[in-house]
């Protein structure tokens, strides 16, 4: 701590000063009674830009968008009671996808806690299971320790959300501050175990049919280049989880794209045959593995993860290495033999040729795959691609040529409809030089539709591509496939006029249905600056294929 002159400051002013010192320049939230002291202090900050969301969940996902695009902890603010409960979904989403988030909530004054005071809710208790850690702050003094610690915890090891609940009287309490703590940064990780790495290298060198399985941890760790280099050196066909897309360019010769429930047949077949699976920053999620007992049934497993609790959680590893995947890959690669692995790679190539991902209509921009490809044709790898959740998300995951880590922002673990628009706003705020595309559906967009006005107010360069099939498409698809075509509660009888809705919120709009040259209309809309809605109708009966039925083995794919 460096000596400085003594100042008398309120808890609220201390919070704002600590955020400034932390390097926070943009945050999102909604004020309310119990957080007004912090907002009052924030109004005096010349460094921090506050983005007023229109629902606290939007604020949470705007912060997530910033964090996902940059990898740095981002901040959202909410008041007590409903403000805090509205944040919960965005916090839980950050927990499941390991996103560093610092959520700051106002709380009723300490003396009123436990009295069922107006807008009192047990925010601390509610957030225990959905945060990495949480705090109920007891005094203004404690803020000097808690705020930097919240950032340190959010960023350290496996990243995640941290919540700081601050009673109003703590925000108003004045104390003398003479020294400021250092900003919270990620703790250094212990060096990985060299002996385990040597064993892993030997297993890779001896394997005949190894595969590399990359998860979101590769992106979080900044290890994409190292992972690609390892794959190239050792001749490893590579699959990615939904969270890892972009870690290896999808058109790389060794890439087999996304594995699992909606992976290509060749991808799941290759995994079924491999004799060694090298899992890097992946957690064997059920959407990736299908029936676990039938996942890579012939394979030995090397599992590398920053979180020791992931090792052996779902599948026992023959070698489990706890550590930052970047540090592990740095040590592992030199010990791995360069191999051409012609036999296995030519076999994988033949699987690819025989069972490719089928994307009918890819050349027709009026189809779902064709629209996605047409959007990609208008953009380069600098664009950021966000999605909502549903069929459109899976189609984009399959068809968009993702080539850059952090290019891809999607709600993987929690699968939160409503994620896309606010996350895209956050990404655009964090990296205003990029075009941020948000693929969404007519179901998802309505779940945080109010953030259209936030996007318009901020003038962010967000392009919302609304794939409208007038249904909750994945529900419709599952009812069609697994529930005897008893379509219930998944077809919308009434729909808003999305063009008018977006115009009403201040968006420019394009209805591709009415454009005689959809490619030209797309190119114009995507090259303009500012928030734009691009609407396109999609046939309700289109399905995401192939599909592994929930609970089935990945090799038993339907369709595609």
């Amino acid at each position: 701590m460096a000596m400085q002159t003594t100042e008398t400051l309120t808890g609220a002013q201390i919070v704002v000063r600590l955020l400034e010192r932390q390097g926070v320049r943009t945050l999102s939230g909604i004020p309310g009674g119990a957080i007004l002291p912090i907002y009052d202090a924030l109004s005096q900050s010349t460094l921090i830009h506050h983005v007023l969301a229109r629902h606290e969940q939007g604020a949470g996902f705007i912060a997530q968008g910033m964090a996902r695009a940059t990898g740095l902890p981002a901040v959202c603010l909410a008041s007590s009671g409903p403000g805090a409960t509205n944040l919960l979904t965005a916090i839980a989403d950050a927990k499941l996808d390991s996103i560093p988030l610092v959520a700051i909530t106002g709380q009723v004054p300490k003396a009123m806690i436990g009295t069922d005071a107006f807008q009192e809710v047990d925010t601390y208790g509610l957030t225990i299971p959905i945060t990495k850690h949480n705090f109920l702050v007891n005094s203004a003094d404690d803020l000097l320790e808690v705020i930097p610690r919240a950032f340190r915890l959010a960023a350290s090891g496996r990243p995640g959300p941290v919540l700081v609940d601050i009673p109003k009287d703590v925000q108003n309490q004045s104390i003398e501050v003479s020294e400021w703590p250092q900003p919270g940064v990620a703790d250094p990780m212990p060096a990985p175990d060299a002996e385990l790495i040597a064993r892993a290298a030997a297993m890779i060198n001896e394997a005949e049919r190894p595969m590399l399985y990359l998860g979101g941890g590769v992106v979080h760790s900044g290890a994409s280049e190292l992972a690609v280099a390892l794959a190239e050196k050792a001749g490893l066909p590579t699959v990615m989880t939904l969270m890892a897309l972009g870690a290896m360019p999808v058109d790389h010769a060794l890439s087999l794209g996304m594995l699992g429930m909606h992976g290509a047949r060749c991808t799941n077949f290759a995994l079924d045959e491999c004799d060694l699976l090298i899992a890097v920053g992946a957690r064997f999620d059920d959407r990736a593995t299908g029936k676990v007992a039938a996942f890579c049934p012939q394979a030995k497993i090397i599992h590398i993860d920053i979180d020791p609790a992931e090792l052996g959680k779902i599948k026992a590893a023959h070698v489990g290495i706890a550590g930052d995947v970047k540090a592990v890959l740095k040590m592992l690669s030199p010990e791995v033999d360069a191999q051409l692995r012609k036999r296995w790679l030519s076999h994988v190539a033949s699987l690819k040729a025989a069972h490719p991902l089928r994307m009918p209509g890819i050349d027709d921009p009026r189809t779902h795959y064709g629209l996605i490809r047409a959007v990609a044709d208008c953009l380069d790898d600098e664009a950021t691609i966000a999605t909502d959740v549903g069929q459109h998300q899976m189609w984009v995951a399959q068809a968009y040529p993702l080539r850059r880590p952090r290019q891809w922002l999607t709600s993987g673990g929690l699968g939160t409809m409503g994620f896309g628009l606010p996350a895209a706003i956050g990404a655009a705020l964090a990296e205003p030089e990029r075009t941020v595309v948000c693929f969404t559906g007519d179901g998802s967009i309505l779940m945080n539709v109010q953030e259209f006005v936030t996007a318009a107010e901020e003038g962010v360069n967000v392009k919302v591509i609304l794939m409208n099939n007038a249904s909750l498409g994945l529900v419709f698809q599952q009812q069609t496939m697994f529930y005897g075509e008893r379509i219930f509660a998944s077809k919308f009888k009434g729909q808003p006029d999305f063009i008018k809705v977006a115009e009403g919120f201040g968006f420019a709009t394009v209805d591709l249905d009415k454009e005689s040259d959809p490619r030209a209309a797309l190119a114009a809309a995507l090259s303009s600056h500012g928030p734009t809605l691009i609407h396109a109708s999609i046939d309700m009966r289109e399905q995401v294929l192939p599909m592994v039925a929930p609970g089935a083995a990945n090799k038993d794919m339907i369709g595609g």
Partner: protein, 102 residues
């Protein structure tokens, strides 16, 4: 709610966990929510401050279960949990306490 009967419950092997934790409001909530969210019953709980009171020791009696190893790893991740030690059912802490429950 635990779906197994009283008799079945008694037949299960027990394990005793010993945790060193920070002593402040909410720590016990963090610890027990790890179990409750997995519908994993905690059979016995004992907690007292140690030393100057800045930390506490928590004793948990739980059923041996395939999930126990994962539970221990998850507990070790909690910010306020400083150490976790695993003992067999023969550990005397709950045995000696039992006379208060007769």
């Amino acid at each position: 709610m635990n779906a197994i009967s009283q008799a079945e419950n008694k037949a299960l092997a027990r394990a005793v966990l010993e945790l060193d934790v920070n002593n402040h409001a909410g720590v016990m909530s963090h610890v027990v929510s790890m179990f409750s969210r997995r519908a994993y019953n905690v059979e016995g709980i004992l907690c007292m401050p140690v030393g100057n009171g800045s930390t506490s020791r928590v004793w948990l009696m739980v059923n041996e279960d395939g999930r126990l190893e994962q539970m221990v790893k998850q507990l070790e991740k909690l910010e306020d949990v400083l150490a976790v030690r695993r003992h067999g059912a023969e550990h005397e802490v709950f045995e000696r306490l039992a006379e208060f429950f007769r």
